[in-house]
Structures are given as structure tokens and as C-alpha cells.
Subunit: 284 residues, 4 copies
């Protein structure tokens, strides 16, 4: 895989941002392999993502950060530059349902998901064997309904110990405490099994069945304090009909869920998702 630096930034829109960034890169002879920009005219906000060949630059990622910092400061940029060789550390959280977890693990195992998975945390023990076959530590942290705080304390400790930078809720069926959501803001990715904002909360396929919709869907989004209301990364749907029972919807919906989650996570890993307020800019 090519060695790249990924620069992403957002700032108030004004004339000359691209000139400034591209001059900076051209000055050091940096080869841009992919470039995306977006100007939100209504918000007056500008977004940019550049992929640069690491070995076209005369310095490493630390120096990159140093020399770019003054430009960023001058333009009030929220920004980061990441090294594609420093892999993201993604902790997966699950419950009993295997489809999303198994799908992510397979993609990772066979080289289609470029990250580290330091561990999997689940509130049931069912998926231990699946996870351990992949050589990944599995932590079973049960939930005591009378003391959920203990569960989340243990989870929090494991996540810290794993030096995670991202948490993926791969059909982990618990609602996270607000403090945890705030602490990990923009770093927790959930897959919700409906096309949000339809069918927020529990049992969305049951809700969909009751309403008699002709499409079911899934939504990959960042978790915030508000249930199922965080910034949406991606969504997709599939057709259903009067023939489909709830069980059939649940079964068929799995294919949408895993596809949408894998796509959203991949974009996140490749720094393609910029959060702005409660929305995302996705440079896919």
C-alpha cells in the first residue's frame, strides 16, 4: 500500500485557501494523489482533503505538522495530517449478533480494512471463538442492569488500555452514557438498523413492519449524546414487500447494515469524513 500523508482541514471560507495550501505543497515538491474541496456557501465554511505521496516530501509527518502549523493558524483551520503507515486503532464492540462483527473481521483479516483491531469488547460471550480465531483479544464485559456504571467503567478502561482512537459499535445494543459520548466525540461509530431519522431507538424493523414501509435501511453515524441523532456518515436501503415478515426483514437487513458500516468505517479510517456541526462532509 502506498505511503501517504492525509491532510484534512476546515476553516471559514475566504479567497486564497487552496492557493495557500497548494503553494505550501508545491514549494516542497509534494505530489498530490487525490484532492477534494468543498465550500459550503450557506455556512461560509471551507473543507479540504489532500493525499500526498509521503516520499515526495523532504520531511516526515512531525516536520509536516510543524511547517504547516503557521498556515493553519493564520487561516483559523481545524486540521490534521495523518500518516497512512500509522494505522488507526479500532476497538469493536458487539453483543450477540455476529453479522457486522464477522464482516469487519473478515475484511480486516483479508486485507481490505487497513487498521489495527486491538480488541473486541462484548456484553455477551457468544462471539468469543469467532474473534479469537482471528487472533484478536476478546473481552466479555457483562451488563448488570442494576449497575450499568460498572460495565461502562470496565469498557472505558479497556478502551484506554487498548490505546484506541476509534470505537465501532457493531450492533452493540447498549446506550452509552452521555459522559462517554462526550469524551469520545467524533470517534464512536454506530450502525443503526433503519434509514434515520425514521425508527429511532429500539426494534426499528418492528417499527418498519408496523408502518408498512417498502424500503428498509441502515445508517452509519457518529454517536452523540442524543440517541441516533449524531452526524450521518452513510445510509442505504433495500426493497421489502408485503411478503416480508419481521424475521425476514431482520435477516435481509443484515446485508445493508454490514455494507453501510464497512463503507462508513473505511471512509473514517482514510480521513474522508469531516464533521461540521451535526453533519458530515464525506470526500469519498
Amino acid at each position: 500500500m502506498e505511503h501517504l500523508y492525509r491532510l484534512t482541514l476546515s476553516c471559514p471560507d475566504r479567497v486564497g485557501i487552496v492557493a495557500r495550501v497548494s503553494n505550501f505543497l508545491a514549494q516542497y515538491n509534494g505530489t498530490i494523489t487525490e484532492a477534494n474541496q468543498h465550500a459550503d456557501m450557506a455556512e461560509g465554511w471551507f473543507f479540504l482533503r489532500n493525499e500526498i505521496k509521503a516520499d515526495s516530501l523532504p520531511f516526515g509527518i512531525e516536520t509536516f505538522r510543524e511547517v504547516f502549523a503557521p498556515i493553519a493558524a493564520d487561516m483559523n483551520m481545524a486540521w490534521q495530517v495523518n500518516d497512512s503507515r500509522q494505522k488507526r486503532r479500532i476497538v469493536l464492540m458487539a453483543s450477540r449478533d455476529s453479522h457486522c462483527l464477522a464482516d469487519l473481521l473478515n475484511r480486516w483479516h483479508f486485507g481490505d480494512l487497513d487498521c489495527e483491531i486491538p480488541c473486541v469488547i462484548a456484553n455477551h460471550d457468544d462471539l468469543r471463538s469467532l474473534v479469537e480465531w482471528h487472533g484478536i483479544p476478546f473481552h466479555h464485559v457483562p451488563v448488570d442492569p442494576d449497575n450499568k456504571a460498572a460495565h461502562f467503567a470496565a469498557v472505558s478502561e479497556l478502551v484506554m488500555a487498548a490505546r484506541a482512537d476509534t470505537i465501532v459499535l457493531a450492533r452493540y445494543m447498549q446506550i452509552l452514557p452521555q459522559s462517554f459520548c462526550t469524551q469520545w466525540s467524533g470517534k464512536i461509530i454506530n450502525i443503526h438498523h433503519s434509514f434515520l431519522p425514521s425508527f429511532i431507538g429500539a426494534k426499528p424493523y418492528h417499527q418498519a413492519f408496523e408502518r408498512g414501509v417498502k424500503l428498509i435501511g441502515a445508517t452509519c453515524h457518529y454517536v452523540t449524546e442524543d440517541l441516533d441523532a449524531g452526524p450521518i456518515i452513510d445510509q442505504d436501503v433495500m426493497r421489502v414487500s408485503h411478503r416480508d415478515t419481521i424475521e425476514e426483514m431482520v435477516r435481509r437487513g443484515k446485508d445493508v447494515e454490514k455494507a453501510v458500516l464497512a463503507r462508513g468505517l473505511r471512509w473514517h479510517i482514510e480521513d474522508r469524513v469531516l464533521i461540521h456541526g451535526n453533519k458530515t462532509v464525506v470526500f469519498e
Copy 2:
């Protein structure tokens, strides 16, 4: 176009319904060109639609009704049989937006929508020339915000005078009175510009934009007393991204709206939609 009888029925499920119906048709040598059935196991309800070649039977539609009535009564069927040569009479209602109306008129004009359109009713006069070019009477019935009842009384009269059996709200932006909805239950088709139940009510594209969804959609449904909550006939979606302004969503959404409305209306015309409670069985 082939001359067909379209038999649709629903009734409590039990052994022998299909045998009874197919024996009836076989006894008269009726040729079935298309047959669909559905047993809703949870509800214990059975649905059937048969298309029969009219000239394979030794009698006309009236006699069909007479000879089939005892079977239907015996099985507690809600049923009807229609003659494909007796075209549906569809009144279209519109406002200022042309896309759905123009699309339906074109399909009708060039033979892809097999019905009569006795008239178009609109609360603005903008689309008169479009409608009249097709040789269809256009009634401009303005809405006085202080006396909406007068508008709906006039509409009601025009619909009755047109001997309509179906009303299509082709982006007609008024909320119908409850009494009208009740009177025309199962006979008013609306196109809502969102994937319901998301974004009920006014300005769904604005709501979609605010929420930052990655899909916009449209829903074709029967109108009931509850706003945007009636039985759904069809839905579809299209992708949007951070680049799309509200205006762009509105523009692009038109293509979904007109496709979904045309499809749903066609199914209705061909007796493919059976309403049961707040859901539909669609034998497409």
C-alpha cells in the same frame, strides 16, 4: 391491449380458497394470464389477484359478478372484478409544481397510462396551458385562506361531476379536510417528497437538509385522515451528499417523486394494490 378481467379479493385465510376460485374459473374455461396470492400468516388473512382473458369466459363482467358472488359470500371475501376496457377515471390535482403533473400527462398522452383523465384541478392557474394542450379540461379553484371550505366544496363538486373513481394529488400542496379523506378512503393517492415516516408535513427537503441525510426519497401512499400516515404503495430514494443544497435536493428529488407516483398510480389502475388496515399488498 388485451381484454382482461381483474379479480382481486381478500378474506380470512383457510384451506381451499385457491381451489374454490380456480375451480370456478376452470369450470368456465377461463384462461388465467397472471395470478398472485399472499397469505399473511400473522394476520390470518388471504389475498389474491387473478387476471383472466375476458374472451375465454362465456359471459361478461356483470354475469361474472353474479356467478362469483355466492363463492365470495361463502368465504367472507372483500372482492371486486374489473374490466380492463372500463377505464379508471382519474382526476389529477396540482398546484404550481409541474414535474409530476407533466410526467403523468405525458405518459397518458403517449399510451403508457391506461386511464381516463376527465379533468385537472389546481389551486393556481400556472399549469393551465400545459393541461389544455393535452385536450384535458383545467379547473382553477383558488384557495381563500379564510374560507378553505369553499375551495374544498368546489373541488368536491368537480370531482363528482367528473365521475372520478380516483384522485391523484400530483404535488397539490393543500391538506384535505377529514370528511373528504373519509369519503374517498382508498381512492386518493398522494406523492410525499420524503421517504416516510421521515419528514412528515411541510418542507421535507428542508428537514432532510437540516438532518444531513445521505438519501432523499419519495413516498406514494393512500391519503387518510392522518397527515402522511396512510397506507404506503411505493417508495424510492436517491443519494445526496454534502455538496447538495436544498435547491439541488428539490431539483433532483423531482425525478424520484415522478417515478414513484407513476409506478404507484399504474399499480392502482391495474388493481394491483390491496389495502389491509394501514398497509398494502402490492402484486406488482
Copy 3:
């Protein structure tokens, strides 16, 4: 899972087929849970699939076959009736690519694919560990380019020993000998990584890239003597753009391939696919 008998049949179209079949079932008090029919008017051919609750009938599958045989003979039916409890025996064949194989194994493992998988046969040893973790025997049968016959003889023996009724080519990259295709006619399912008939043969993503298409796809079909030309069970596509390299197409196409193969195989297992000439009737 419910205990069902699945009756499928096809025969020359005539009046009274449905009456005959439904009378037969009603006479024995058989409860039909799902019924599909299709009359191909151009070909004059009739197709039917019924699912019947096994315990609603007073006899087992063998007696079912005996008592139905005279009706079938009388109407020149090609037919079969299967017992949902007698699971299909599916041999999977693979090469080095894991995505389709891993996907099918996971679905099977977690209960979403109702069949037996007596063994996996591959011409490379790479996927042994994956397969064996699922507790399924893995046979590595290498291909000697100078003596392919030996490979296919060994494969044939293994398939027979496994008492397979269906063979799935889950990205098995060898062309099967004609005699093998003939022997297993209608029982070998392949996934081809293009929307056939575009890009027959080797390296379809390369062909797609060269042509500059904006959609890539996958096709699940029965294997016949003619390469990639057998009856199509299902197809699907996804969008690509000028940004996608061949490698990216290959990576992204995997999601379509595995979804289409899983869907097609499921329909096959549930007796939903009837082959007629070089086409299929799919009662999904």
C-alpha cells in the same frame, strides 16, 4: 424453522392446472403458506411453486410423491417436491479469493443459510484454516496445467463422495470440463464478476476499466457448457467513477459478488428457481 414441503412444477400451459393442484392440496387439507405461479404466454408454458405446511397433510414426502405423480403425469409436468427438513448438500469450490467463501460460511455458521456443507474443495491451500475453523473438511486439489483432467477427476470423486446435490463456484477460477457441466446440469452455481453478458471470460474488472463503464456488477448463474452463458439467477451492480482504479473496482466489486451469490444460492436452496431453456423463473 417451519417444516414445509416445497412443490415446484412446470408444464405446457392449459386451463385448469391451478385448479387441479389446489384441489389436490385442499382435498388433503394442506395449508399453503406461499404460492407463486407464472404463465409464459409467448412460450405457452406454466410454472408453479407452492409451500405447504408439512404437518397439515396426513402423509409424508414419499406418499406425497406417490399420490401427486398421476396428476403430474396427466399434465406432462416436470416437477419435484422437497422436504425442508432434508437439507441440501452444497459443495463449495474456491481458489484463493476469500470474500465469497467467507461470506457463505458465515451465513451458514450463524444460521442464515439452511443447508449442509459437506466439504470445500480448492485448487490452492490458502483458505484451509478459514474453512476448518467452521468444522468443515477442506480438500486441496491442485491443478497441474499439463494434466487438468487429473484435477477434475479428483474433484468429481470428492463431490460424489460428499453426496452433493449442488456445487457452488465461489470464485473458483477454473473452467469446468464440458462433461462435468453436462453431468451436473442445473446444479452448478457460479458467480461471475461482471453484469453479464458484458465482460465474459477472464479479468472482467480489467475489461470494465478499459471500457470506462460507470457501473460494475456481478451475475449469479447456472453453469452450462458455454462459458458464462448459462441461465442467470440474479444480477446486481454498483456505481464506479473515473476515480476508481482496477484495484479499487476489484475491492469494491467483492461486495456485489458476495451479495448476489448469497441471494441466488438461497433461492436455489429454497426451490425458488425454475430453469426453462436458458432462462430462469425466480419465485423470490
Copy 4:
């Protein structure tokens, strides 16, 4: 509609292109409202499209061209800059089928297609009334099978007289002479009623029906000397099944055809399509 300049260019890839272009724009205080770039690493070719607010620049389009020319020359750019207020002049060509033509005319009529349509040319007279209602001149130029050259000579003259910059074949069923294709290279847009490269040539729905595909599609492409083999702008598909006759495929396919053509034409009008060899870069 906002007043914009649309700059598009392609050239051999090298360091500093974006810097050069963005410096140029920043120097004159130009506000970029949309920016897209693409580096084709395999071909070593670079593509760019910028939309600039016209009134943010201190000069008009002619001066823009003058001051940008030296940069373009220095970097061996193929380039153009267009003024959104100088509308494209699109000649539509049709035969008897109305769906694509009616759809484009409606979009134009109601403001969703920002161009001039100086005239419609057809080899049959059927659609005259439709076209003339929109206030657009209609030219009926019949085809004499024994003297097609006369037809094309007349067409050529009309297109020149209309000062067209683009020709759209809206289901115009004639094969254009090679010389005409060469003369209008990159300026003739066709809608082909299949997902190319499947089903090149005549009667693609018949070919699709024969092959038993489960998807039908449409392809919008630039016309070249090779039949149905020019650079693809856009494609889409829809599901079909064993129930669909050829007539039904033809009817349903119309919706894909008109959607794909309208989308492709819109991108062309907005200078979003850059041709490179036999492929397109589409900055949608």
C-alpha cells in the same frame, strides 16, 4: 441563477498545477464556488474543474481567456472557460418515440435544464405538435433509405444554421455517417437503451429478453465512429424478472433512459464532463 465562469482543463500531471491555477485565481480575488480535481496516476494525466463567481473577478470572460492562456500554454493544458450566462445551444434529434424528447422539453420548459434549444429535427413528423407547443421550431427531415446522404446533408445544414454546439440524439434511430461523427466529435450525446457494452446495436431489449438478464439499463455516451462504443457519461439499470415481456421491458426501460439522458446532458451543459481517450472524467 448565479453568474459563474467554469474553467476546465486537463494536462500531463506534475507538481504545482493546482498551485498555479489557484494562485492565478487568488491573485485576482476570484471566489471559487466549486472545485474538482483528478489525477489519473496510471495515465499520468491531470484534470481540473473550477467554478468561479463571475463578479468576484475584475474582468470578463474574454480577458479571463487572455490572462489565463500563458499559464495553460506553459503547462500544455487542453482547457476552456465558459460563461454560465452564455447558454449552450442544443439541437435535439428524435424519431417517433416521445419519452426522452418530452422529458427534456419539460425540464427545459420549467427551468430545470439551462440551455437554448434552437430546434428539434426528426425523421418522422409525429412529434411536431409536442415540440411546437413549447415554441420550438420542428424540422421533419425524412430518411430515404436509398439516399440517406440527402437526409444527413439536410440535418447537417439545419444544425449549422441553428449554431448548435451540442447535438442530442433523443432516441433518434439512425446511424450517423462517420464524417458527421468526426466533425462533431465530443459534441453528440446519445442515449442507448442497454447497459453498454451489453447489447450493442438494434433492439437491445429484445437481446436482453433473449439472454434472460435480471437487469435492464441505459447508457448515455458521446457518439464516435464506432457504433455504441464512444465515451460513456452515465449509466443506470432497473430490475426486471421472468414476468416482464419485451413490451414491458420497453415500457419500463423508458424511465431509465430519460433519467440517464437528462443527467448526462445536464453534466455536459455544466462542463462537468471531460473526455480523455475513450473515457470520461465526470465531476458531478
